[in-house]
């Protein structure tokens, strides 16, 4: 099997940031909590490969810890979406046309009707800004996405003869969903998961940018951008570096998603929205 080039390129790009995030757990070049006004706004040097910010913090170290925040928030949000959305989608498809199906789909539509950012802001505003609330806010909007994708894929599988054969063998809807439907949806879910992962990173950045994500002193890319905004006239590099980190991570994940789709099922064409 030929591995698509996007998968390699995207995997490498996303892998770099994943590695940075993992390394930051045990080591960063400098302590991101330590402020040193004397070292503020230094250009790139051997000691600070990406320079320092207005509090004298090392930018490379902040990018590393920020990667950890971004990836963790987005990944957990995908986990929430999958954990709740996939079973809902499976149940809806197994009861297609029934009351449960109708309820699940209408609830989905309802969630889709709420402008996601507004609700995320509402949630974090009501319950206080924190990384956990950001995860919840993003995760809630992943639920209908996975429910819909799962239901759609499951519905087309339910029409296949091997499902009929399983029913002839006396298997019930729950057993068929787990044994025959879910394993054949994995490809679809992996691809959608990658897409939601990258959208989660963008959402987390937006929430942190308006101050509703991870709270100081935990560095996050979005807040680095917010803090850089006032300095954009004098030190544009402060705004450019975290932005590039976001773009490259999201780009890497999107490329991976496209590559995975081609690798796992060339016929699979999900519309990304």
């Amino acid at each position: 099997m030929r591995v698509p080039v996007q998968l390699v390129a995207g995997g490498a790009l996303a892998g770099v940031f994943l590695a940075l995030a993992l390394v930051s757990l045990v080591w960063t070049p400098h302590d991101v909590a330590a402020l040193s006004i004397a070292d503020k706004l230094r250009p790139a040097s051997a000691a600070h490969p990406l320079g320092t910010d207005h509090f004298g913090r090392d930018i490379l170290s902040m990018i590393m810890v920020g990667a950890r925040t971004s990836l963790a928030v987005a990944l957990l949000a995908v986990g929430i979406g999958m954990a709740a959305g996939v079973p809902l989608g499976l149940i809806a498809a197994a009861n297609r046309g029934g009351l449960i199906d109708e309820l699940v789909m209408r609830a989905n539509d309802l969630v889709f009707a709420f402008p996601s950012l507004v609700i995320a802001i509402l949630i974090t505003a009501v319950f206080g800004p924190s990384a956990v609330n950001a995860i919840l806010a993003i995760g809630i909007f992943n639920i209908p996405v996975f429910a819909r994708v799962t239901r759609g894929g499951a519905l087309s599988l339910w029409t296949l003869d091997y499902i009929l054969a399983a029913r002839v063998a006396g298997k019930g809807a729950a057993r068929i969903s787990i044994e025959h439907i879910l394993p054949n949806l994995l490809n679809l879910l992996i691809v959608q998961g990658t897409i939601q992962f990258s959208l989660g990173i963008l959402a987390e950045a937006a929430l942190s940018y308006v101050g509703l994500g991870a709270q100081p002193p935990t560095p996050s890319w979005g807040r680095m951008l917010a803090e850089a905004q006032t300095l954009i006239y004098t030190d544009p590099a402060l705004a450019i570096i975290p932005g590039l980190a976001i773009v490259l991570t999201v780009l890497g994940l999107n490329l991976m998603g496209d590559g995975l789709r081609d690798l796992l099922d060339p016929r699979l064409r999900r519309i990304r929205a």
Binding site: L160, D161, Y162, L164, A165, R167, V168, A169, G170, N184
Partner: protein, 521 residues
């Protein structure tokens, strides 16, 4: 009219066609016969120069002296639809779903600049009337039409400019047999009326026998034999032609069974479907798919259930398998209501590709019917036994389904049906998706297994030749009701119900005198 010389085609590194040569005279019907993958459809697309990307053709195609491969794309566009028309197999997908049928026919006239908008519309309506759609308003959309009607629209659009050559690629394969007869008659009439040539591509020897003046037989991208239809059928010069002919006429050796006591009894079965509501308030309209059907199947017999699409035969089959509830009547197996998971009753479906979970090994797939009854301790040995019974090897249990061909998959489906040592197997169009030579071998296998394991069959099909080959008795179903029932030979040779008569008359057949010579020779 059209001369094809040394046509070869490669797609990427894959050789598709090799040295294909034939000519079609003015007003002639030329049949191109072959099994799937023989290259017959790509031959047609080569003539139209509508090949997929990465295709490389060699050789020459001359249409009334003009070398088509030397023309520019613009010149080719002017030719397509005007000098050569094409009808393809799938009437369901061959028409644009968001364009009215009248506009699609008129478009042929418009793009060639042969008529203004109003004139094109008038001519389109006339063409639609000519192909037998006079009653259907031209402002209808394709989804509002039946399969046969859509194929008529496709024909109207293809012949709107009276092309000199019409290419019909499996034009009736997706249609019911009575519709097929009407479409073939329409094509024949158009050929005679307009004096155009017809290139008829099909896998069905009986269809070309009744239509073509000359035929060519294709195998593996080459034409292995061609000549006047009668002569080719009488001589059967090439071994492949002989094999194809034998397979399409094949009747397995089987001992007819009267049947013992009653095994399956269907009593006044009724199945209704609720359709979507027309408005938010009000009741669901109801479609009655099965309307009070009654019959019995005796132990050891092979019972055919014949019907066209929409007759309710598949719904009835699912009800017998215990997969659908009835709104009236009863279905009893050995005196007790049927239920899914009963080891005494198994099933084989039509589609050899959709019948298996691609993520499980064959061993697990074949053992699936053990689910309800419990997995016996010797399950692995039973799987091996079942695989060997269908002439596969025990080692195949370790493989995945994608490693097998369509015919082999159908054998695996049969092995899965045998695993619980059932008494009754419901066969839902089990050979309809297979090429004739594969079909013949599967029919042989089914006959052999019936003897060996004393099985009863309920054989559901639309194909009268298959019914004749493998069943003792037959039920003819139409619009949810059984209209005729009796010994297979008696029903097919002397049908009593008008619908059965229509069905038998519509089934294409190779003339008996051609067959006769082969038997003597």
């Amino acid at each position: 009219m059209i001369e094809v010389e040394g046509l070869s085609l490669d797609i990427g590194a894959l050789p598709i066609l090799r040295d294909v040569s034939f000519r079609i005279g003015a007003g002639e019907v030329f049949g191109l016969v072959g099994e799937s993958g023989s290259g017959k459809s790509l031959t047609a697309l080569s003539l139209m120069r509508l090949l997929p990307a990465g295709a490389a053709v060699r050789g020459s195609v001359r249409l009334e002296g003009r070398a088509l491969f030397d023309l520019s794309e613009a010149e080719m566009c002017a030719l397509r639809g005007a000098a050569i028309g094409l009808i393809s197999q799938e009437p369901m997908t061959a028409l644009n779903p968001v364009m009215t049928i009248g506009d699609q026919v008129a478009e042929t006239l418009l793009v060639h600049g042969r008529a203004g908008r109003a004139e094109a519309r008038r001519l389109a309506a006339a063409k639609l009337a000519r192909v037998g759609l006079g009653e259907v308003p031209p402002d209808r959309y394709p989804h509002e039409l039946s399969g046969g009607q859509r194929q008529r629209v496709a024909i109207a659009a293809a012949v709107a400019l009276r092309p000199r050559l019409l290419i019909a690629d499996e034009p009736t394969t997706a249609l019911d047999v009575t519709t097929q007869a009407q479409i073939l008659a329409l094509l024949k009439g158009l050929v005679a009326e307009e004096g155009m040539s017809l290139m008829l591509i099909t896998h069905d020897l009986a269809v070309v026998a009744g239509m073509a003046d000359r035929i060519a037989v294709m195998q593996g991208g080459r034409i292995v034999e061609q000549g006047p239809t009668g002569a080719v059928f009488r001589a059967l010069g090439h071994p492949y032609t002989r094999q194809l002919f034998a397979a399409s006429e094949h009747v397995p050796d089987r001992i007819p069974h009267r049947g013992g006591d009653v095994l399956l009894e269907v009593r006044g079965a009724v199945r209704d479907y609720r359709l979507p509501r027309r408005s938010p308030v009000g009741a669901h309209p109801v479609l009655r798919a099965v309307r009070g059907v009654s019959f019995t199947l005796r132990r050891g017999e092979s019972l055919g259930l014949v019907g066209e699409s929409g007759s309710g035969k598949s719904t009835l089959a699912r009800a017998i398998l215990g997969l659908e509830p009835l709104q009236g009547g009863q279905i009893l197996l050995d005196g007790a209501p049927v239920r899914a998971g009963d080891p005494r009753m198994q099933v084989v479906f039509q589609d050899p590709y959709g019948s298996f979970n691609p993520r499980h090994r064959v061993g697990r797939l074949v053992a699936e019917p053990f689910h309800a009854a419990g997995r016996p301790p010797d399950a692995a040995a039973r799987v091996a036994e079942a695989l060997e019974a269908v002439h596969l090897s025990a080692a195949d249990a370790q493989k995945y389904i994608h490693e097998f061909s369509g015919g082999q998959r159908q054998r695996i489906a049969i092995a899965r049906a045998l695993i619980t040592r059932p008494e009754l197997i419901v066969l839902d169009e089990p050979v309809s998706a297979l090429d004739v030579s594969v079909r013949a071998r599967i029919l042989d296998l089914l006959a052999e297994l019936q003897e060996r394991f004393r099985l009863s069959y309920l054989f559901i099909t639309h194909d009268l030749a298959v019914v004749r080959a493998i069943t003792d008795r037959v039920l003819v179903m139409r619009a949810g009701e059984i209209v005729e029932e009796g010994e297979t030979a008696a029903v097919l040779d002397a049908p009593r119900h008008p619908y059965t008569r229509e069905l038998v008359a519509a089934a294409p057949a190779i003339p008996t005198d051609w067959r006769g010579e082969r038997r003597h020779g």
